[in-house]
Symmetry: C2
Subunit: 224 residues, 2 copies
Amino acid sequence: MPPEYQVKTAPASADYNEIVPKAKDLEVRLQRTEQQLRLFQKVSRFMVRDMTLQEVLQGIVAMVVEFTECDSCLVYLCDREHLVLCASNTPHESQIGRVRLKLNEGLTGWVARERRLLAISREAYKDPRFKYFGELPEDSYESFLSAPVIARNRVVGVINVQYRQAHQHSGGEMELLTTLGEQVGCALALARIEPQLLETINHAELVLSSFVPAGPAPAARSRA
Amino acid sequence: MPPEYQVKTAPASADYNEIVPKAKDLEVRLQRTEQQLRLFQKVSRFMVRDMTLQEVLQGIVAMVVEFTECDSCLVYLCDREHLVLCASNTPHESQIGRVRLKLNEGLTGWVARERRLLAISREAYKDPRFKYFGELPEDSYESFLSAPVIARNRVVGVINVQYRQAHQHSGGEMELLTTLGEQVGCALALARIEPQLLETINHAELVLSSFVPAGPAPAARSRA
């Protein structure tokens, strides 16, 4: 047990004044970490439920907004050379499916192209990569956090979190969005598989075909 | 700020003796929660890396063992009416692909059939659902925790955590295994998709085809 936790019956007030704020800080951090853990568990639960892909995306967007308290969360998915707006927390219903960006346009296009997380805490619209489209109010927002949506090592979309005002993105928020980009990629892959097919295919075989007990790797490997 | 955190310069020793163990407890819980969060992030990262399905399963097994400190972690996957051992932390290499259970056999079969988490803290071998196979030393282990592997709402396998000695499974361990069952299902789905296909398909279209702005649901919905 570290010395600062040893129970004393007559503590020096200096010790006490150190430990009390520490306990408070620990409690806040624990609460936040538990919240993030529950969010991942909820997202994972989406993977097994009988939901449309649109419902999964909207569900993820709603949870991101709750956790980050952002003003906007948008999901764009690839249609070959374009990124198409597919989910949003704001009432952009008329824009869903209509807002289209090229892969070489704007901050969102940069994230897809470079396959990198992008975090801008203020004046995102002054970034040299920014492009004004004028189709969404988010174009004027100060703060921008964006992660690629990835499936099998390929970028298949982008997920954005935006704040009207300047906002310092925490490590937890960056980590969250990175992971959600991967989970949305999983949801897209799952949607490609017919549920009936899952009952007839031999899952074990696919794994074992790539199993290498001790010798050299075979020429062709099933990669996941 | 709750009263117990107010900084006092002359505390009663009773206050102090309450707060110090509380800080210690908070620190332990925070550490454990952060550990679990990192585990999920690592598993999610597997979904985007160019790994064989066997490597993904073995990686997940290794992380489960590290987190739970269990003696054995086994993954069985469905081959129609059978469950086939596909990954293990113990040197069961000669058994991988050879140990086969029927869906109506043993504790593992019960989990697949009932699609439910099963937690037994001691004398798992005395459970009426237990079946002795004698192929694996795990048959004699005291404690058993098992979750179904699920993809698109279908059971496609089972993941087991076992201890030689009696072990009270924590809520965190149960939650972890449930989520990992879902994530293994995602990995199986991803492995079914050719990476090249991901660059040519229209991901946006699949989502938007199920998008219902305001009216009634269409007859056919793409479900994820």
